[in-house]
């Protein structure tokens, strides 16, 4: 029993954080479509989860979880989860994935639109009939309004595609499900990072902003809201860490644990966004303040890979409708 990240796992996160601080500052969110992508690629970020025969490091999802949290913390744009986490599980044979020169988009089941599809060289579309791989050149995209300026949504149409994973006569679509689970957990890790950054920015503002001759952070009404955010994040994070272990270890409760992680992380991040906006007041309600990017990311990622409501429904059927067993 050693439920904490190793020094190596934390060191990887620290390296990613340094790169993102240098190459994905808030100003870059206004001026670049895909900041820090090349620098992350140079670091080997996109090969972390790929097997060695695909020029990767063969790490598990758990190993890269703190690093993924950093990508959320930096509000990093682009299909990071799709390219660095989903693709290695679903498309390990695609050449150049490890180098970051191939960018992958995913349209998960239950979602109408594909995020960041404008950047995708390859698009994976998962529907009831299974998963299909679409080349970027044969996709027609129509932009759709979304809440996140750095994570645009697209309606996707295509004429040619090839089946992935579970073809009707082939093996079952287990690999697609497992790949989506990985993407869901990675997104939950990003949400934890978004929530932590929202909390940090808001604490910083509440210490600096004075009214009635005192920092507004000295008022209990403000303190207690921020304490509630801290508690929500503190108890969402272990569910995310556990989901990564469950997916890596293919334990029987993996699907349930993934839903618990995504629901809790999404709710913590939306609470963090709500409180961040309330504590900032009118200045938070502007496009000028960088806070807007993190607010938007909390909302957009909460809707990605299953809303909290969808995951809560899954949890209800697994726990109340099924036989809840604890692992370990």
């Amino acid at each position: 029993m050693n439920f904490g990240f190793t020094d190596d796992q934390l060191a990887l996160a620290a390296t990613v954080r340094d790169v993102l601080r240098a190459h994905c500052p808030p100003a870059a969110l206004r001026s670049e479509r895909r900041p820090a992508w090349e620098q992350l690629a140079a670091l080997g970020f996109f090969g972390l989860l790929l097997p060695p025969e695909a020029d990767g490091l063969g790490l598990g999802l758990t190993d890269v979880l703190p690093a993924l949290e950093e990508t959320g913390r930096a509000c990093l744009p682009g299909p990071v989860v799709e390219t660095a986490v989903v693709a290695p599980s679903l498309l390990p044979g695609v050449p150049k994935l490890a180098s970051g020169t191939v960018c992958v988009g995913v349209l998960p089941p239950g979602q109408a639109y594909a995020a960041d599809a404008d950047l995708a060289d390859l698009l994976v579309v998962v529907r009831d009939g299974g998963a299909r791989l679409v080349g970027g050149e044969s996709v027609r995209l129509a932009v759709r309004a979304g809440i996140d300026p750095c994570r645009p949504l697209f309606e996707v149409a295509f004429d040619t595609s090839e089946p992935l994973g579970g073809s009707p006569a082939g093996r079952p679509a287990v690999s697609v499900e497992a790949a989506l689970w990985r993407g869901t957990v990675a997104t939950a890790a990003q949400l934890v990072g978004v929530a932590r950054e929202l909390l940090a920015m808001t604490v910083s503002y509440a210490r600096a902003r004075t009214q009635f001759g005192a920092a507004i952070g000295s008022f209990q009404a403000v303190k207690h809201q921020l304490a509630d955010v801290a508690v929500a994040v503190e108890f969402a994070a272990p569910l995310v860490h556990r989901a990564a272990l469950s997916v890596d270890g293919a334990v029987p409760s993996a699907g349930r644990d993934v839903s618990a992680a995504k629901a809790a992380a999404g709710e913590a991040a939306t609470l963090a966004a709500r409180v961040a906006l309330q504590v900032h007041g009118a200045i938070g309600y502007t496009e000028e303040l960088d806070l807007r990017f993190w607010l938007a990311r909390a909302w957009s990622l909460s809707a990605a890979y299953g809303t909290a409501a969808a995951h809560r429904e899954h949890l209800r059927s697994e726990i109340v409708g099924g036989s809840p067993r604890r692992y370990p």
């Binding site: 439920f3 758990t62 210490r207 000295s218 304490a227 503190e234 108890f235 809790a264």
Partner: protein, 365 residues
């Protein structure tokens, strides 16, 4: 990072589970009645006979030297087995960690083995009528006399004091506020005890009146004037974790899910599933905390986040059980009333939120 129990930990779990299966009694009368207190004390003696009453203590005091992880395993099994509430809990979870860290060898040998067997049952005496959340405002005093001290003043909300044998608490020996407080042990036989009926009608706590109660020097824990530091020091280590282990909430969540299954109301089932996941989150978080403590870290004010989380979860679970059962909630009533106390005792949740905001997040006082 892993979530795997070692073979030794799995063996320990199996041993505890087997023992509890054959020894756990049926429901005992409330520990706040004379007969219930006696029954709970007898149960503590039976637990101690199997060296299961204080598994994490050193062997010389009646424990097994179990690790924090093993203690968490014990707690999971204990509550899952429906075993009785711990009448000794104020002593073994609040006083004992301080005794082990700050007590003399003589004090440890004198008090810990008796506590482990339930021979002595300890009541806490922190609050006073004018010092609740603001504990440092306390005014009870201890005056030095030859060979010891005389205690005078008025304590209240002293849990278990109606039937317990001994008490522990802070008394002013000099200074103001946090400075000049001293940590005393005392026999309740010398103290005026007025039992106070709680919401369930039973005297779960009491007022204590000290009218020049003499205690010898050997009843001072640590140095005179160091009481605040001693009382607070252990909150940042084991006690921050052991006040309420996840095991009891996991057991409650399992019972709640079984109720929701029978009720077949999707909205209530959704809330039950949410509680079950939150109990899991507390369990996982605690495994992480245990790892840090075993590595020598202090968890400090972060313990306040845990207190907020488990106390409000416990209340939500019991309130939901009452919603699910309507007027057939008899088996949940005691637990419901007890869960209502959770956000109040051991520092109200308003105080805990202040601590989180000021000491974890760094907001100004």
């Amino acid at each position: 990072m892993d979530l795997d129990f070692s073979p030794a930990e799995r063996d320990f779990r199996a041993e505890v589970r087997d023992w509890l299966r054959t020894h756990v009694p049926g429901p005992l009368p409330s520990m706040d009645t004379p007969e219930g207190f006696a029954a709970h004390r007898a149960w503590e003696a039976e637990l101690a006979g199997a060296r299961l009453s204080v598994v994490s203590w050193p062997e010389e005091y009646g424990g097994r030297g179990a690790s924090l992880i093993e203690w968490l395993i014990f707690e999971e099994e204990y509550w899952a087995a429906g075993a009785p509430a711990r009448v000794t809990q104020n002593g073994i979870f609040l006083l004992a960690p301080s005794l082990m860290r700050f007590g003399t060898a003589e004090q440890r040998e004198r008090w810990l083995p008796r506590m482990a067997r339930g021979d002595d049952v300890w009541a806490q005496a922190w609050s006073e009528p004018e010092a609740g959340s603001d504990l440092a405002a306390l005014t009870s005093r201890a005056e030095p006399v030859p060979g010891g001290w005389r205690l005078s003043g008025h304590k209240t909300w002293s849990s278990r004091a109606a039937h317990a044998t001994h008490g522990f608490g802070l008394f002013r020996t000099s200074g103001t506020r946090h400075k000049g407080l001293t940590y005393f042990l005392f026999p309740l036989s010398e103290v005026g005890v007025r039992p106070i009926a709680q919401l369930d009608g039973l005297p779960g706590f009491a007022e204590l009146h000290f009218d020049g109660v003499y205690v010898p020097e050997s009843m001072v824990l640590g140095q005179a004037g160091e009481g605040w530091r001693i009382a607070m020091a252990t909150t940042s280590s084991e006690r921050g974790l052991t006040l309420r282990s996840p095991g009891r909430f996991l057991a409650t969540a399992d019972r709640l899910v079984a109720l929701a299954r029978d009720a077949a109301d999707p909205a209530l089932a959704d809330r039950a599933a949410r509680c079950w996941v939150e109990a899991e989150a507390y369990r996982l978080h605690t495994f992480g905390t245990a790892r840090r403590i075993m590595a020598g870290d202090e968890i400090g004010s972060a313990a306040s986040m845990g207190k907020i989380f488990w106390s409000e979860l416990d209340l939500r679970m019991h309130a939901l059980a009452l919603e699910l059962l309507g007027d057939r909630a008899q088996e949940w009533l005691d637990g419901f009333l007890f869960s209502l106390a959770g956000p109040i005792y051991a520092g109200t949740n308003e105080i805990q939120r202040n601590i989180v905001a000021e000491r974890v997040l760094g907001l100004p006082r």
